[in-house]
Subunit: 116 residues, 2 copies
DNA sequence: GCACGTTATTTGTTTTTGTGAATAACAAGA
DNA sequence: TCTTGTTATTCACAAAAACAAATAACGTGC
């Protein structure tokens, strides 16, 4: 039997105080990788295309190297994909997130103690 | 310091998915303790009284024990103060926050690596 | 009873944020 | 040239959150 309290802490990577990477954005990147399209990715994770596009735009702008490559027109109307740098990025983020979850889970007990 | 990237992660304590405690709320609680008034506290941290009041209301509602005691009317028109439980709460939160900041600082390096 | 200052509550406005729809731009292939 | 499906862009609307102001409720001291 546990108390109904829990601790949440989402990682956010910033550049100059501007948001660069979050869990939601990594989710988007993962879908872009698997679908090859910003439009398809946004639909799958229930995000408006415009927001998905602006996230990609912002990440590319803040990043020292491009995260997503995009092309329009062509064989299938165009598409998008991750750069190797972008793929590396989500790997690192997910590992860090996993470590962080463990940490929160463990140290959070000390806090949640007082609710028993 | 080299690259302009940084990692942020704010602790949020929830009950049944509802927000119970955040850094901002602890800040409010601290000011309530020092001023003895929700109104004065809200002014000092530049938060509207209504928001401060609703935060206090929500925290008290979610907490197993009251966090803030309030009275209206009386000698100085009324006032508010922390319960011992509430005071204990901000102590724990701040310690946890400090530990967490250390952790983020340390493990974040592994992530920020790839921006060099 | 009246003044005082805070809590408590309501109402309307503003600001922010996200969304949906519509459209242009694009480049390959038929 | 025409079709196709995506990226890129704009605009108006919707939903949510924050805010300001006004007002009632309260209890102590005068």
């Amino acid at each position: 039997m546990k108390h109904p309290f829990s601790i949440k802490a989402e990682l956010e990577i910033q550049k100059n105080g501007e948001c660069f990477l979050t869990l939601r954005r990594v989710e988007l990147l993962r879908k872009i990788k698997s679908t090859g399209s910003i439009l398809a990715a946004s639909k799958e994770i229930r995000m408006s295309y415009q927001q998905a596009w602006s996230f990609v735009e912002q990440m590319n702008r803040l990043s020292p190297l491009p995260v997503v490559t995009r092309k329009r027109g062509g064989i299938n109307g165009g598409g998008a994909d991750l750069t190797p740098f972008g793929a590396n990025l989500i790997d690192r983020y997910e590992k860090l997130q996993a470590l962080h979850n463990d940490y929160i889970q463990k140290t959070g007990e000390a806090m949640l103690f007082c609710f028993l």
